[in-house]
């Protein structure tokens, strides 16, 4: 990994690549990742399937595995797009939605709803309406809270980051606190929603989550050029005719939607987004979001998919897949901070 994250003079040109060799390098990396993703998908779907390939039973098992693959794809998509966009909007490579506590907020809202309205009140809605309401609440709160946090009044980055981390911890404690006060029946209803892993991810609403993520992610993708501008910082982008504040709010809202989807599907993950964004910047070595975003997603998919596959079939420890990715992500986070010696 070439971890030189400083701005290189060559990267300041308006073109995405400094020279043809750079473009070749990007294309090669992208191609390798695509091949990797295809291989991983094939392995996840077909490995260790005891029946004759393409027989009826074989297909049935493979079909059951499709939802697992989909979960990996959607979660990494959300994390990659949300993190890259968030880092650009906040103009910082260290903070990510999860480190700032977006997902603890989601868990807290879920818990608070059950806590204040009870299972009876909640089950009055049909599950899908409830899911929608919760996600909407999450987006509203997240945008309010984080636009306040990021709005420059406490604009010191370190204060903000620390507040984000502590907010996350505090909201986590508050959720657990409320959960302890629920009666066991209510808790069961809630627990089914909160503790995710790939195997027992909440796939009920996949039919809804996938199109929403595609739409939101697609919007971010369409906004690539604008993100490139936002990434130049408030002053330069304002000079270039961008309503910086409004654009940042828009990006934050989109990020909040993606985070809500990822958390509802899977549960909180802290470092996955950081890991893929950092690696994507290091490998793609460009500031063009159109090139960065797919790279980040592919990296996430290969990393989580590989971890999932290895732990499922080689170490038979399937629930640890996310932990391993988190562990690696946390270590990368530390290395990046320590190598830079600053934020």
């Amino acid at each position: 990994m070439s971890a030189d994250l400083g701005i290189r003079p060559s990267a300041r040109t308006t073109r995405s690549f400094a020279d043809p060799a750079h473009r070749r390098r990007y294309r090669f990396a992208l191609a390798a990742l695509i091949v990797g993703a295809v291989v991983i998908t094939a392995l996840l779907l077909c490995w260790d399937n005891p029946y004759v390939p393409f027989s009826e039973r074989w297909l049935r098992i493979s079909r059951m595995r499709v939802s697992g693959v989909l979960v990996v794809a959607v979660v990494t998509f959300c994390q990659a797009f949300a993190t890259v966009a968030f880092q650009t909007a906040t103009n910082n490579r260290i903070i990510t939605p999860s480190i700032m506590g977006f997902e603890s907020l989601y868990v807290l809202i879920q818990t608070a709803i059950v806590f204040f309205f009870g299972v009876a009140g909640v089950s009055g809605f049909d599950p899908f309406t409830r899911f929608l309401l919760q996600s909407a609440l999450m987006v509203v709160f997240a945008v309010l809270l984080y636009s306040w946090l990021l709005s420059g009044r406490f604009g010191n980055l370190h204060v903000m980051l620390l507040i984000g981390i502590i907010l996350g911890t505090g909201m986590g404690a508050l959720s657990t606190f409320l959960q302890q006060m629920l009666d066991p029946n209510e808790f069961d209803v809630l627990a089914a929603r909160l503790f995710g892993s790939i195997t027992n991810a909440n796939t009920d609403f996949l039919w809804f989550v996938v199109p929403v993520c595609a739409a939101v992610g697609g919007t971010i993708w369409m906004l690539s050029k604008r993100l490139d501008l936002i990434g130049l910082g408030r002053d330069i982008s304002t000079n270039l005719g961008l309503n910086h504040k409004r654009q940042v709010m828009l990006v934050l809202t989109l990020v909040a939607v993606l985070s809500a989807m990822s958390a509802s599907l899977f549960g909180p993950m802290t470092f996955l987004g950081f890991l893929v964004a950092t690696l994507a910047y290091a490998i793609a070595d460009t500031y063009d979001h159109r090139l960065l975003l797919p790279m980040a997603w592919l990296l996430g998919y290969v990393a989580l998919g590989l971890a999932y596959f290895l732990l499922k079939h080689v170490f038979t420890l399937v629930s640890a897949a996310t932990i391993i990715v988190e562990l690696i992500g946390g270590l990368v986070f530390l290395v990046v901070i320590l190598r830079k010696g600053r934020l």
């Binding site: 406490f154 010191n156 370190h158 204060v159 980051l161 620390l162 507040i163 981390i165 502590i166 907010l167 911890t169 505090g170 986590g172 404690a173 508050l174 657990t176 606190f177 302890q180 006060m181 802290t270 470092f271 420890l317 629930s319 640890a320 932990i323 391993i324 988190e326 562990l327 946390g330 270590l331 986070f333 530390l334 901070i337 320590l338 010696g341 600053r342 934020l343």
Partner: protein, 314 residues
């Protein structure tokens, strides 16, 4: 002198309140109230006092030695290391008693804290706020390792139960190791002036004739011992070591020796109050104290951060 006396009266009141709170009425003339008092109430209150005072003290000592207001055992990973040590004893030496577990936990806490100190020295992170950020991440990495090991060896419940600091299971025969921290606190009291001088920084401390490295090692050792013992007996008590010394320093300034009694007392108050809340809010059940502390603590911490921020701006 008067404020301190008043504070002692307040402490006594809280301790009394803690003794009389609970499902069983210990004042009932018939029945076995007296037994309850001796088997659970007194041990529980004693461990509240010991754990609260010593974790607050551990935070104070660490803040002096790192010259950083935001450092304490749970923000540099000491607690997580102690937990990892505990887990390792469950895996490698399942037969060992509580003393053996504690010893390993202390060794891990000591080693982990030293690693963090070396980290800090090597990279000379200038901003005081990066230190807790790195520390928290360091702790997160260690606890991810713990979680992985716990999964591998099917000890997830053990680690989950450990992580939630609680005083629920405290009774005669289980809490006695906590008295160790009384000894540690006395040692901190004796060495108080040395820690104060060390808190001025390595250069000044060396200039006035202090063996800086040795004092830091002693400090880390005492902190690790406190954290190890409290973690094994009670569990993690988040934010306590962070908030108490800061509150005391806001009111009284930075002299360790004259602050020490106040740090002890404030630690006792906060722990006792949080425990009372946790015990009464869903009677006859209990909310673990670490959750109450986590909620209260993060709110206070953020308020403190915003306050220092505002001061620096104005």
């Amino acid at each position: 002198m008067w404020p301190l006396l008043l504070a002692l009266v307040l402490t006594a009141g809280l301790i009394g309140l803690s003794l009389f709170t609970g499902v069983a009425d210990i004042t009932a003339p018939d029945g076995d109230g007296g037994e309850f008092l001796w088997i659970t109430r007194i041990p529980r209150t004693a461990s509240l006092v010991l754990a609260g005072a010593s974790m607050a003290m551990a935070g104070l000592v660490m803040q002096l030695m790192t010259q950083n207001r935001f450092v304490e055992p749970t923000t540099v990973g000491t607690t997580e290391w102690a937990g990892l040590g505990l887990l390792v004893t469950y895996i490698l030496l399942p037969e060992s008693g509580i003393v053996g577990k504690m010893a390993v936990a202390i060794v891990f806490a000591f080693a982990g804290t030293l690693v963090f100190f070396v980290f800090l020295r090597r990279v000379t992170l200038k901003s005081s706020l990066i230190v807790p950020i790195v520390g928290i991440m360091f702790g997160a990495v260690v606890s991810a390792i713990s979680t992985f090991l716990a999964l591998r060896f099917n000890l997830l419940q053990v680690i989950g139960g450990w992580f939630l600091g609680r005083f629920t299971g405290i009774e005669v025969g289980r809490y006695e190791p906590l008295w160790i921290v009384l000894g540690v606190s006395i040692m901190v009291w004796i060495a108080a002036d040395r820690f104060t001088v060390a808190g001025l920084g390595r250069d000044i401390a060396t200039n006035v004739g202090l063996h800086y490295e040795r004092v830091v090692l002693l400090g880390v050792g005492l902190v690790a011992m406190t954290t190890g013992v409290v973690t094994v007996v009670v569990g993690a008590l988040p934010f306590l070591g962070l908030i108490v010394p800061n509150l005391v320093a806001m009111v009284r300034g930075d002299d360790l020796r004259s602050n020490l009694p106040w740090v002890f007392l404030t630690g006792i108050w906060i722990v006792t109050l949080c425990d009372l809340i946790g015990r009464t809010i869903i009677m006859p059940f209990e909310v673990p104290i670490s959750l109450v502390l986590g909620v209260v603590g993060s709110a206070v911490f953020i308020a403190m951060l915003l306050r220092t921020r505002r001061i620096r701006v104005s």
